[in-house]
């Protein structure tokens, strides 16, 4: 009886398993294999060399790119968390009627009706040397030289990430906040808890799973992104994915594959640490 039920569940999991094997595991295996190949200008040479990894792991370029990537990931995470948490909190606890809640929530998603790239590019005329921000600051007499760091800088990149990814923080946090039993908050109030105590001892711990899911989204998205860095950084800033992208565009697939494997391992390790902190499956 027990055994047959197990067999049934295997059958049910089979389609997904096949899809994942075919479209996830197999490509990654191919990338892994290619990362040991040799190459020249126009072709890949099947081989088993460690040179791709050797160059990658000893180059100071890699180190710099990783530091840069972690910086972007951390800053984006921090700000999307602060903004996302506040927004979700407002939606979940301050907006009383469910209708308003739904309307406001939908409003949050409006910018997502257009593509990522368009939302990103729309910052450029705003932040440029002769852009809206600089010209209004100058005409109001606050500055007399345009601020160059507004565009094609780390600032611009992190700003774009925050703009693009805050929603990924809002949704799961809002979701877990909506599950918090309101009686708990009332009980805390009755027991004389200060508002910040309620926040610290009830709301934050109970929305931990949402925070974690949002963090994973933001973190992995930023780690693997290159187009934001390319557009908002004006090509002079780089992260790990830009490095891989450069190599691909120059037909250096094995070097790119090695870069991808190392990035994959890094992200997986970070995720393992995150999952140690919270058992997401238990809390969902």
């Amino acid at each position: 009886m027990m055994l047959s039920r197990q067999i049934h569940s295997y059958w049910q999991a089979l389609p997904l398993t096949l899809i994942l094997l075919g479209f996830l595991v197999f490509p990654i295996c191919v990338i892994l294999v290619v990362s040991f190949w040799d190459y020249n200008e126009y072709s890949l040479i099947p081989d088993f060399i460690l040179e791709n990894y050797e160059f990658l792991l000893t180059s100071k370029v890699t180190l710099k790119a990783y530091l840069q990537t972690f910086k972007y990931a951390f800053l984006s995470w921090l700000f999307t968390f602060l903004i996302g948490f506040t927004l979700a909190y407002f939606l979940a606890f301050h907006v009383r009627s469910q209708k308003t809640q739904t309307v406001l929530f939908l409003l949050c998603t409006v910018p997502f009706f257009t593509s990522n790239i368009i939302r990103m590019i729309s910052w450029i005329p705003l932040l440029g040397r002769n852009g809206l921000v600089n010209s209004s600051l100058q005409s109001s007499g606050l500055i007399d030289q345009p601020l160059d760091w507004l565009l094609y800088s780390d600032f611009a990149i992190v700003l774009a990430y925050i703009h693009l990814y805050t929603m990924f923080m809002v949704v799961p946090i809002f979701n877990s906040m909506m599950r918090i039993d309101r009686n708990l908050v009332e009980a805390a109030l009755d027991a004389g808890a200060a508002p910040w105590q309620i926040l610290k001892d009830i709301i934050v711990p109970l929305s931990k799973s949402g925070i974690m899911v949002g963090s994973i989204f933001v973190f992995t998205l930023v780690m693997g992104d290159f187009i934001t860095v390319k557009i908002m950084g004006g090509g002079i800033k780089a992260n790990v994915a830009t490095l891989i992208y450069n190599e691909i565009s120059l037909l250096q697939y094995p070097a790119a594959a090695a870069g991808a494997i190392v990035l994959l391992i890094t992200v997986l390790m970070m995720l393992m640490i995150l999952f140690r902190l919270v058992d997401v499956r238990k809390e969902l």
Binding site: G235, I236, T242, L243
Partner: protein
Amino acid sequence: MKDKMVIDQVNQDNSSSVETDLKSPSVSRRGLLKGAAKAGVAAGAISGFPMIWAQNIKNITLRQFGTGVSNLNAIADKCKEDLGFNLQLTSLDSDSVTQRAVTQPNSYDIADIEYWICKKVFPSGVMQPLDTSKLKNFSKISPLFINGKLAPDSTIAQGTAPHTVGFVESKDSKRFATEQTNWMTLIPTIYNADTLGIRPDLVGRPITTWADIMDPAFKGKTSILNIPSIGIMDAAMICEAMGEIKYADKGNMTREEIDKTIEILIAAKQQGQFRAFWKSFDESVNLMASGEVVIQSMWSPAVAAVRGRGIQCAYQPLKEGYRAWGGGLGLASHLSGLELEAAYEYIDWYLSGWVGAYLNRQGYYSAAPSTSKDYMTPDEWGFWIEGKPAQGAILGPDGNLMEKAGAVRDGGSYWDRMGAVSCWNSVMDENKYMVRKWNEFIVS
């Protein structure tokens, strides 16, 4: 035009690695039917060309891909009108072109690529050489592409000069021949001499040398292009002009020369000399038009595009000379039979003048200058080729005003510009090393 054409053009940003397959069976079938219905009309249009396969021609769609510079819908329209078959165009940036040429050889029939790309792509065997005896207009091709010399006494510039990768030894050879043979890798179509673009209204002083891009006065207001094989050449022109490095051959640097060049670039980047690096045409136009940069590496039509917005922009001739590039049409190795014949017919037509004139009007040069002269007014020829002041308004190929009467082309005549080429775009022996170092520069 009576026959509605079937042309798709995809302008793809290099960010997207996803290729769109443009060939849609239903569309070409429709084109076929329409073509058959109007066979009489088409036959009239193509009577000037000897066509043994006029009846079958409607079936043919040649797929051409290449960089945006010469993948123009107007050329496909005219080709349909003159030759009767369809030309389907895809434009990509240089890197993606190289990648696609090698990795998806069955996705195109005709490759519209640059000579330095050809040096990378041809040895991989995805292309077949062209039999020059089948081209009527072969003799009209500029000697620049045959022996590398514009005039008999010219010196050959450094780098991958087109004639060095223009011929192979035999039909099946993948080795480049050292002299003219009957087998050409690419039939040259387009070329130009590149230099720095400037905003004369914002630089505030005369610009005379490549080294001016490193002037601290322009800190945070300069840009160079981030396509390693071209960017390194601009960098070499700059470093040599600064007097920092003397290259034996800028087109084929040694490791030490690469190291030193990149070192200078990194130092400049860390001091904030560069505002941005650009990869695509549009990026360079926007950087210049918005005033983010005032001096940068640029391509000729990008300068025209900035001017087209009513903003001052000059393609500044510099005392060290130009960095030149050239492109041509090559055949995919899978082409055979009727399609191969059509491709030959098309390439011969390309050289016959109309396209050349069209390209000349965009500020490029035609590979068969004498044929294109017949398709241009004397004023146009005087302005674009002879460097004379325009007598009347100079219109672009699309009919928009390019220059007013009295204007003179930046850099002067064809012979002044192409005669002052210091280096051709190239691929080096140390390419792999160079690309790594270039990456280091981009990341640092």
